[in-house]
């Protein structure tokens, strides 16, 4: 109906003053297209083109003079470090997201429980880790984990517990990276889940209570199904962002010790820019794509499902 209302003036104008230019700008789809043009250009030039260019780069040799096809990938597949990076990236991402979701869920429930007046204050305090730029908070964590001056080890020492090599031992280093990741990301989950919790209608809980459901059953049969969409989207978003994370590992461990905390992004930086082998770095980064694509497909399916549910 809106379109009909719009078409008439355009045709009217076209009839009275014939001018090609007028007609072009009078048409709705041209305006619409022009309005989206900057977006299209931005994405095409600075996202799509470089992505395709990186595929081209990955087929070149180290000095970028010869074409070597899959040579870089074959080289990577034979390297132990590469498979370690794949494994580490996946484990980090999955573990971190699970814990973020868990902590976010638990904290959201507690915040939801307290009277609404106080909720704003607590929400504000608990979101702080997410608001601070990760590079800054990683510096704080770096100092908290320092081999000689760790404040945590100082506390442990007072409790007569041996000092922990937070970033020096491979397993502890992985733990530390996941810990900082969870610290930064859990508030985001909390906020999303809190909003979702609030949108669950009270009647459902009342109905469940009438049926004699206890706390756990209420959770399982009412809360979780209603929140399923939000949980899925948040988890998948976070999976992708955590998988491609650079800042935390770079500042905290720089990939060490002995490459045990390298993820795709940091290893690509190490190999590509620090090692002067851009094609190899591009190959490493590109390997993220298949994994990310799988996640993207799941997100798309979920969104379409939600969109069709709503309409």
């Amino acid at each position: 109906m809106v379109e009909a209302a719009l078409q008439t003036p355009a045709i009217g104008r076209g009839v009275t003053r014939r001018s090609a230019l007028r007609r072009t700008f009078g048409r709705k789809s041209s305006i619409a297209f022009l309005m989206t043009l900057p977006l299209i250009l931005l994405v095409a030039l600075l996202v799509l083109y470089p992505a395709l260019y990186s595929i081209h780069l990955a087929t070149l040799n180290k000095s970028m003079e010869r074409f070597v096809g899959f040579g870089n990938f074959l080289f990577l597949f034979k390297r132990e470090t590469f498979w370690m990076v794949v494994q580490q990236s996946c484990i980090f991402a999955i573990t971190a997201v699970i814990f973020k979701a868990l902590i976010g869920f638990i904290v959201a429930h507690f915040v939801h429980n307290i009277p609404s007046k106080g909720q704003r204050k607590w929400r504000g305090m608990l979101l702080v880790p997410w608001v601070i730029p990760p590079a800054m908070s990683c510096l704080a964590w770096l100092w908290l984990f320092d081999p000689s001056y760790s404040a945590f080890n100082w506390i442990l020492d007072k409790l007569s517990i041996a000092a922990v090599p937070w970033t020096g031992n491979a397993d502890w280093a992985r733990f530390s990276v996941i810990l900082v990741n969870v610290w930064i990301g859990a508030p985001f989950f909390m906020i999303m889940y809190l909003a979702a919790l609030k949108s669950v209608p009270e009647q459902l809980y009342e109905a469940a209570a009438i049926d004699g459901a206890n706390w756990w059953q209420r959770m399982w049969y009412v809360t979780l199904p209603m929140m399923r969409n939000i949980m899925a989207i948040t988890a998948l978003f976070s999976l992708i962002v955590t998988f491609a994370n650079f800042d935390i590992v770079r500042i905290l461990t720089a990939g060490g010790p002995v490459d045990r905390t390298h993820v795709f992004a940091t290893w690509a930086f190490r190999v590509g820019i620090e090692g002067g082998d851009l094609p190899l770095g591009a190959s490493v980064s590109l390997f993220m794509l298949p994994i990310l694509a799988v996640a993207a497909i799941f997100i798309l399916r979920d969104i379409h499902r939600r969109a069709s549910e709503m309409s």
């Binding site: 309005m35 989206t36 977006l39 996202v47 608990l126 601070i132 909003a195 998988f243 997100i299 969104i303």
Partner: protein
């Protein structure tokens, strides 16, 4: 409270024993506050530690007598940084880049979101999904080809793109525009079409609809998108690390991590001060506009 009342009624109807309503609720509240305090300690401990360390002299830090309390507080680190031309350059660069990027982002996203949510044209549905998908191509994939692209432009067209802060003005929108567009599409889509029609009846053209009707109504969403764009720009680390190296071109995150950490022994008092001051703008904006911020985050998921 009604839930609890019904529970109690149901309980007595079935002959089960429940404690008194207020006692149950009070215990639930107590446990909630207890755990909230624990989590608050966990989440707020690093920033507080940053503050404590920033007030220490380097002698006190080296002596390591008590990392969790300041015995001889000093504002020396703050004074040193706030009068240091290098640090102020970092701050200025960050501020310039973030503000300009926010403007660019808004200029690109708002019209695009308007077009995608209101005007049906060929490919609009595909474009809307496509916008969302680009968010999934991470910067960690793009920084290497972009680096080479800019180096080539430098060599053949003699346009200096590497090691200049304004290259970030070109790059940051790729990170902010997709998500902001998505948020705005959500907000615009939730504006009832009747408002459109009413404005059209009054003879408004598209531009007027956009400026007079939409933007005022969607203002919360706009503010949320602005805050998001600012925070993302301010916090960026990888792009500036890869593309800027000279001291006067650095933005805060990279400047602090790579330049303040100088000398064999870190001057951690100064570094923590730098980090705290660097985290201040997003925190301050957050403190004042918290509700918009949170609304923006959740809108992306619930309205989208």
């Amino acid at each position: 409270m009604s839930t609890a009342a019904i529970t109690a009624a149901a309980g007595s109807a079935r002959g089960r024993r429940y404690g008194s309503i207020s006692r149950d609720r009070r215990w639930a509240l107590r446990w909630s506050y207890f755990f909230l305090v624990l989590f608050a300690i966990f989440f707020l401990m690093p920033p507080v530690y940053m503050l404590i360390t920033s007030l220490k002299t380097s002698q006190e830090i080296s002596a390591a007598t008590d990392p969790w309390w300041v015995h001889h507080p000093t504002l020396g680190n703050y004074i040193e940084l706030l009068t240091s031309p290098t640090y102020l350059t970092f701050f200025r660069n960050s501020a310039l880049v973030s503000v300009i990027v926010v403007a660019i982002t808004m200029l690109i996203s708002v019209p695009a979101a308007f077009a995608l949510s209101r005007m049906r044209f060929w490919g609009s549905a595909a474009l809307a999904t496509g916008v969302f998908l680009t968010y999934l191509i991470p910067e960690t994939l793009l920084f290497i080809p972009l680096f080479k692209m800019f180096a080539l432009i430098n060599e053949y067209l003699d346009i200096q793109l590497i090691d200049r802060w304004w290259v970030l003005l070109v790059l940051y929108p790729t990170l902010t525009v997709p998500f902001c567009t998505w948020i705005m599409i959500g907000y615009f889509a939730s504006i009832p079409k009747e408002l459109d029609e009413a404005a059209l009846m009054d003879g408004a053209n598209y531009r007027q609809i956009l400026t007079r009707v939409f933007i005022p109504v969607a203002l919360p969403g706009l503010i949320a998108a602005t805050i998001f764009a600012f925070t993302v720009s301010w916090a960026q680390f990888l792009y500036p690390l890869a593309f800027t190296t000279s001291a006067d071109q650095l933005v805060l995150p990279v400047g602090i991590v790579t330049s303040l950490i100088k000398g064999d022994v870190f001057n951690w008092g100064q570094i923590m001060t730098g980090a705290l001051l660097g985290a201040a703008p997003p925190l301050i904006i957050y403190a004042f506009l918290m509700d918009y911020y949170i609304a923006g985050l959740t809108a992306g998921a619930t309205k989208g």
